[in-house]
């Protein structure tokens, strides 16, 4: 059994759109060990930024419970598949050494009712580069809470893409600390939500050094009575002059019953920075739909083509051809099932 006493409540600012408490209450789960082993790597015991940003309980729960720790320092795929009744507590530590380039692909899925409380620690040393892809196809009753903490040193690069195509409830939380000058952090996401699914992306980016860049581009497609959440905070510390921060969340509402909550935040303490954010929520363009139909393309196919165009901007940024092709084919399957 799991104890609910440490689970964040909707009364907490960063959790006000995602009621994890309510989602977990109905579940009977057993902590389950996957057999990765514990290794000898020291864990970060406290959630980063816990003094300033609060919101540490799921990190701490992971630290207290985890028996599955994976240490990664070379390109690899990680599969985490849960089955009914399980509570999994995976911990992944990715270490990119000076000048290395790594690609780590995470595939998160499962069947039945379960909870994954996952922590991923990423450390990119000077000049290192990590491509981090997360493909989420959780079951309709699966819950995944994922806390990713990223530390970037001088001239390090982090390129992340998250594609969510299945969820009961997913909280994808990313906290990036850009500590070294010249470092760049790009977070991209496509969230395809249907039925009663709930997908929450909550981001904190801390620019702590001068001449650093962060770019966030998220595309949400909501059908059924699904609910999407995007909270993105860019925090520019006083030392971080010449910061270039950009944040964009576009949402396509394909159903009148879906709901999107978007909350961009900028907190800037330096005076020579370039920061922008934008959020749009809209429907498919009627002019474009008519144009396609007037060319003989049936309505459903026209909707699917336009929706694919909407998300492809993010997919096109993934450098690996095979990953890109496989995602495009999964997305077009999702579109033909749900659009």
């Amino acid at each position: 059994m799991i104890s609910l006493t440490d689970i964040p409540l909707v009364s907490s600012e960063r959790w006000k759109f995602t009621d994890l408490h309510k989602a977990l209450k109905k579940k009977t789960l057993t902590p389950t060990v996957m057999g990765w082993g514990r290794g000898v790597v020291p864990l970060l015991t406290h959630a980063p930024g816990h003094e300033r940003y609060g919101d540490t309980s799921l990190w701490d729960l992971n630290t207290a419970q985890t028996q599955d720790i994976k240490f990664i320092s070379g390109s690899t795929d990680v599969n985490i598949h849960a089955v009914d009744g399980q509570m999994l507590t995976p911990r992944i530590i990715i270490h990119v050494k000076t000048g290395d380039t790594l690609t780590v692909n995470e595939f998160l899925g499962g069947t039945g009712s379960y909870w994954k409380n996952m922590v991923v620690q990423v450390h990119v040393e000077p000049g290192g580069h990590l491509y981090h892809h997360r493909i989420i196809t959780e079951s309709a009753e699966g819950i995944a809470t994922i806390f990713t903490h990223v530390v970037l040193e001088r001239d390090a690069r982090y390129d992340a893409a998250c594609v969510m195509m299945g969820a009961g409830m997913v909280r994808n939380q990313i906290h990036a600390e850009i500590k070294g000058s010249g470092a760049q952090c790009a977070l991209n996401g496509v969230h395809l939500l249907a039925g009663e699914q709930h997908g929450d992306t909550t981001i904190t980016i801390e620019h702590q050094a001068p001449h650093t860049q962060s770019h966030q581009t998220y595309k949400n497609v909501l059908t059924g009575s699904s609910r999407g959440v995007f909270q993105g905070k860019v925090h520019v510390h006083q030392a971080a002059q010449k910061t270039d921060g950009y944040q964009l969340s576009n949402t396509l509402m394909l159903s009148p019953y879906a709901e999107m909550d978007t909350k961009p935040e900028l907190e800037i303490y330096a005076d020579d920075v370039k920061c922008s954010h934008g959020a749009t929520t809209g429907k498919l363009d009627e002019n474009a739909l008519f144009y396609l139909r007037a060319r003989g393309i049936p309505l459903a196919q026209a909707r699917s083509l336009l929706t694919m165009a909407f998300v492809s901007e993010v997919i096109d940024r993934i450098p690996a051809e095979d990953m890109r092709q496989s995602l495009l084919s999964d997305i077009s399957q999702w579109l033909s099932d749900h659009v």
């Binding site: 008519f290 144009y291 139909r293 007037a294 060319r295 309505l299 901007e313």
Partner: protein, 249 residues
């Protein structure tokens, strides 16, 4: 081929077409001219089946069958094509993907086999070349960043690819310089055929110097008020619409 009978249509509460009658025979090219606000673009949208344009009376028959209940895509499959006055830009959808999807959707609906990638590309390249459209344009998003002339050429290319039996050209000359106009008109003239009819909608006579119509109609206040031969266009160019409109109640 196409037969429009006593057509009344409105947008919201505004009646735009008020009893329009028009017969276009197989292989004929008809032109509709008229002042701004006569209902020219409304007619083109009603023919293509755009939502929001409500037909309150009358009928449109294609080869004897009413098309009023058909969706835009079903009308396209039946052979109706509208070249838009303002072609829509669709970011993120590549021209090639768009054309292939459209051609194969129409072929499927017409009971023909889909084209494979190689045959499709061959066909597209040769038709694009005829219109002076580069391979690079085919790799770009639909009409995105195209100049006015390129957009109109793109419309003619789509027409050539879809091989319609009845094509409506809505102000295809608008925004074109004389060179672009010639290319577009050549593209249309190449498609003139015994089995294909055209309705050329235009404000100016200029386009009709290059696409010679069999019949010219004047549309005013939602009705055809005058019909004549190709020479009617020249008369209008000299005297303007004022004389004709005077006689329309």
């Amino acid at each position: 081929m196409i037969s429009i009978k006593n057509l009344h249509a409105r947008i919201g509460d505004t009646e735009i077409l008020r009893g329009l009658d028009l017969e276009i025979g197989v292989g004929q090219v008809h032109a509709i001219m008229g002042p701004n606000g006569a209902g020219k673009s409304t007619l083109s949208y009603v023919l293509a089946g755009r939502e929001g344009y409500e037909v309150t009376q009358g009928d449109i028959l294609l080869n004897g069958e009413s098309i009023l209940d058909l969706s835009p895509e079903d009308r396209a499959a039946k052979g109706i094509f509208l070249a838009f006055q303002y072609p829509v830009e669709i970011p993120g959808v590549q021209m090639t993907t768009f054309l292939k999807t459209a051609v194969n959707a129409v072929r499927t609906a017409r009971g023909e086999p889909e084209l494979n990638a190689i045959d499709f590309l061959k066909m597209m390249k040769s038709k694009a070349q005829d219109l002076g459209m580069s391979d690079d344009m085919m790799k770009r998003a639909v009409n995105a960043g195209f100049s006015g002339g390129e957009k109109k050429r793109s419309e003619i290319l789509q027409m050539a690819m879809l091989s319609p039996s009845f094509a409506v050209l809505d102000e295809t000359d608008s925004g074109l310089d004389i060179d672009a106009l010639k290319i577009v008109a050549d593209g249309v003239n190449k498609l003139r055929a015994a089995h294909r009819s055209f309705l050329v909608i235009t404000h100016y006579q200029r386009l009709l110097d290059y696409i010679k119509p069999d019949v010219v109609h004047v549309l005013a206040k939602g009705r055809i008020v005058k019909t004549g031969g190709a020479d009617l266009a020249q008369t209008l160019e000299k005297s303007g619409y004022a004389d004709i409109l005077k006689d329309v109640a």
